[in-house]
């Protein structure tokens, strides 16, 4: 008979804590955040059912109207229903944010693992390259690259992914440095395990939890960033209803109607607020270092 004692990885501990949702909901700000994120997801999933009109259907005679019974949030300069456009805009927000954060997460993990585990000159080179990417304010970097690649959703996702890589790589690298000190890694190495096995089986699972929390916290930031690029005309193209495009079209007609800017702006603020409140409460609940100080 063989006894195998497996250390519980942080991912398992993370999963055990799924009931934390109850704990998040007990806090007023956490519950508010959860509610907003929930409504956002409902809008994303049920957009065709919820939207009263086709988001691209033009109705010139009823353009630039304020809220009415026929158009709850009013219409834009082409008579399109603003409510429908905002509901469909949630899909664009998610379609842009999730892939770009995933690219940043995966790219960051790979670079961070290489830098942290191999160390030496490889580490130095990776750090300098990351510092160079970070030397450009994200908007400016995106402008420079999108100016050349041309505006499109795919290019936008790639650029956001690139701009966010250094953050994840930095955290991964720091985590690898501290995980390397652990006895179980020492033990595995002294048993002659290959580096690849140590990194993938022992180090990666142990550093994943903080990275996933970081990714969750980055989602709202990336959503506003995407809307900003679309506002500048460097993201998705009209008539796709990105919130940034609704804002930019509203900006062109700001003297005729306040409604597109008002609704799209409020939607962006509330969505970001919801994700941030939910993410921060989740982090407070999950972060074991804060346990004990929480109720102080």
């Amino acid at each position: 008979m063989e006894f195998v004692i497996r250390p519980r990885s942080q991912v398992q501990i993370f999963l055990d804590r799924i009931p934390v949702l109850g704990e998040v909901l007990q806090r007023p700000l956490g519950a508010l955040g959860f509610f907003i994120v929930f409504m956002f997801l409902i809008a994303v999933i049920f957009a065709p059912v919820l939207a009263p009109y086709d988001y691209a259907k033009q109705d010139i005679p009823s353009m630039l109207q304020g809220p009415s019974r026929a158009h709850l949030l009013g219409t834009d300069h082409l008579g399109r229903d603003l409510l429908s456009r905002i509901i469909y805009g949630s899909r664009i927000a998610l379609i842009a944010a999730v892939p770009s954060v995933s690219i940043a997460l995966i790219g960051g993990i790979i670079l961070g693992l290489l830098a942290g585990y191999i160390g030496g000159i490889v580490d130095d080179i990776i750090v300098i390259v990351l510092d160079t990417i970070k030397a450009f304010p994200a908007v400016i970097l995106a402008l420079a690259i999108l100016a050349l690649l041309g505006p499109s959703l795919v290019n936008e996702i790639l650029v956001i992914g690139l701009a966010w890589i250094p953050g994840y790589a930095r955290v991964t690298r720091a985590q690898v440095f501290s995980a390397r000190q652990n006895l179980y890694v020492e033990a595995e190495r002294s048993l002659g395990a290959p580096s690849r096995r140590i990194v993938l089986r022992h180090i990666l699972p142990n550093i994943l939890a903080p990275l996933l929390i970081l990714a969750a916290m980055d989602l709202p930031v990336v959503i506003t960033f995407e809307a900003g690029l679309s506002f500048l005309g460097l993201g998705v193209r009209p008539p796709t209803p990105s919130w940034g495009i609704i804002l930019s079209e509203g900006f062109n007609f700001i003297r005729q109607t306040p409604w597109p800017i008002t609704w799209a702006g409020l939607t962006l603020i509330i969505t970001t607020l919801g994700f941030t409140l939910f993410g921060e409460t989740l982090r407070d609940v999950l972060d074991p270092r804060l346990i004990g100080t929480r109720r102080a």
Binding site: L29, V127, I128, V129, D131, T132, A135, F136, P137, A138, V139, I140, L141, L143, A144, I145, L146, A147, L148, L149, G150, P220, T224, A227, G228, F231, L232, L234, L247, G250, F251, I254, R255, P258, I261, T262, G265, L268, I269, T272, L273, T276, L277, E280
Partner: protein
């Protein structure tokens, strides 16, 4: 300490060089020919050839990189193809407006954010502290372009109490300031919230330190302890953040400058992108990156100087 400074300087120079290499080579990711895209479909082959040679596109990539860096080190960004004016002149007339805008916003954020943070930290868990917490998170989540559009809509379009466009007349200081208010507020909103939260957290930490308790036990009034002893240490992390903040403000300035039709680096780069004027985009981006790098370096050095405790960690790291 000296070793740390040296290492930091060497990395900064390497990052600067690498940024220039990146920007020099970036032109090659354009599908097609950059000079042709710049000049449009009706340009004659002779003109395209001339611009290609002005942009050094007719030389091998490594030579392009070398020439780009060489010219910049000699203070030249080349001339604008369309107006024939030196690009450095265009930057020289745009940059001051952006720097004034960024510093005004930062000043506004510091003036509002730090007192709010101190107030929250000295009244922890009071209802006012909770309301301030919700406000600071909400402020953080308002992107500068949404803030800018809302301010424009309310104060310039609906109430008509503020000017909507332009930087105003630089020789007329009150007019210039009047044109600066809305853009600076729009850019500052996020940072007011951010600084309030940061200062609250670090202030709470400092207020728990023994030396503060000792000062209070010695009967020194709370106000004096907070503002004279605690704030000094609580502000150290803020200094490090301000460097990053200044860079982010330069990024956010792009949106605000476009919304308020202000002259500045943001509009310069943005308009250059619209007309595919790549040499201006490249020069503008490089200048902004240099300022960002310099701000980070200064903040980092100030941080090391202000907090002697971190020097050892950094030297070992």
């Amino acid at each position: 300490m000296r070793r740390y400074l040296l290492k930091r300087l060497v990395t900064t120079i390497l990052v600067l060089l690498l940024s220039m290499v990146f920007l020099a080579l970036l032109v090659h990711i354009v599908p097609g020919d950059a000079a042709r895209t710049l000049l449009g479909p009706r340009a004659t082959p002779e003109l395209i050839a001339k611009v290609r040679s002005e942009m050094d596109l007719d030389k091998p990539p490594m030579v392009q990189v070398g020439l780009f860096i060489w010219k910049i080190l000699h203070g030249s960004f080349g001339t604008d193809v369309f107006t024939g004016r030196p690009i450095s002149m265009l930057i020289g007339s745009a940059l001051p407006h952006t720097i004034i805008l960024a510093f005004s916003s930062l000043g506004l954020a510091v003036l509002l954010g730090i007192p709010l943070g101190v107030f929250s930290a000295t009244h922890p868990d009071s209802w006012l502290d909770r309301i301030l917490a919700l406000f600071s998170i909400s402020f953080i989540t308002i992107p500068s372009y949404v803030g800018g559009l809302f301010l424009l809509l309310i104060f310039a379009v609906q109430l008509r109490v503020m000017p909507a466009i332009g930087v105003g007349d630089p020789s007329n200081i009150p007019d210039y300031i009047k044109h600066l208010i809305l853009p600076a507020v729009a850019l500052a909103i996020t940072w007011v919230g951010y600084l309030a939260r940061l200062v609250r957290a670090s202030m709470l930490e400092v207020l728990n330190e023994n030396y503060i308790r000792a000062a209070l036990a010695a009967g020194i009034p709370l106000r004096k302890v907070v503002y004279k002893y605690a704030l000094k240490n609580a502000l150290i992390p803020t200094v490090a953040v301000l460097g990053v903040g200044l860079g982010n403000l330069m990024g956010g300035a792009v949106f605000v400058e476009i919304i308020f039709s202000r002259a500045g680096m943001g509009t310069l780069i943005y308009n250059a992108i619209q007309s595919r004027n790549y040499p201006i985009v490249r020069a503008g981006v490089l200048v902004v990156a240099c300022l960002f790098i310099a701000a980070n370096l200064l903040a980092d050095l100030a941080y090391t100087y202000l907090d002697p405790r971190i020097q050892l960690d950094k030297m070992q790291g």
